[in-house]
Amino acid sequence: MIRFIICAILMLLGVFTMFSALVGNYRFGYVLNRMQVGATADTLGAFFIISGLIVASGFNAITVKLIIMVFFLWFANPVSSHFLARTEIITNEKITQECEVVRHDSI
């Protein structure tokens, strides 16, 4: 019973995070800001849902597989967001209108 409650709380948190990302996607205007919020869903939302599943299944081989899944998601997600962001920055000529550009070095 306690396990069910913990599992439900974790899954609800995950669904809430995903939903917030959806709301954020509609509230922000600019593509990079939208992506930031989308990345939140990928990292935290997926983590909460998978940890909920881990609690639900109990400790066995499936647990290990799910942990491997979390790691895989956390490795794959930055790569995709990085490439989208990079394409946007390179192709957008009016980048300074959307966000302030700060340089901390001497390129």
Partner: protein, 156 residues
């Protein structure tokens, strides 16, 4: 690494029998040999990795805490009545030498909600942040310090 591969094999099989163990030993030996040949793995690097292991655990823990902290900030921004943010693109240098460490740092920055690594060229980083407060002290954050310590262990 060999042991990790073997454990992965066992985990994916889901149960431990003699047959699976024998196959696992053979297959992980083969995979490890391929990795040594093409991916720069070697028993020497593995020993360095084992010496770095406490730091790796600490790093994962810190990363986790950071992800949760900045997610809460990002969610607050999403649900605030009027969105009042100043997105920012920051360029900065990081004194990390090995390419692997720099990639790890770039991935952790992207993984943390609110910041995305846009470009990584030699040791120049280019990071986009949702709000300007998120980039404060990004040059010498906890991540950078931990990675520097890891590099020191590997070099001596």
């Amino acid at each position: 690494m060999y042991i990790l591969l073997f454990l992965l094999w066992i985990a994916l099989n889901g149960r431990i029998t003699l047959e699976i163990c024998i196959f696992g030993v053979a297959i992980s030996a083969f995979v490890y040999r391929v990795m040594c040949k093409f991916l720069d793995y070697s028993p020497k690097n593995d020993i360095i990795f084992i010496r770095r292991f406490p730091l790796v655990v600490e790093y994962i823990f810190v990363l986790f805490v950071e992800i949760i902290k900045s997610s809460i900030i990002a969610l607050k921004i999403v649900y605030s009545k009027k969105i009042d943010i100043q997105p920012q693109v920051v360029f900065f240098d990081v004194p990390l030498k090995s390419e692997f460490m720099r990639t790890i740092l770039a991935n952790s920055i992207t993984l943390t909600p609110g910041t995305i690594t846009v470009d990584l060229d030699e040791d120049h980083f280019c990071v986009h942040a949702l709000d300007y407060t998120m980039t404060e002290g990004i040059e010498d954050s906890v991540f950078v310090r931990l990675l520097m310590k890891m590099e020191e262990i590997g070099n001596d």
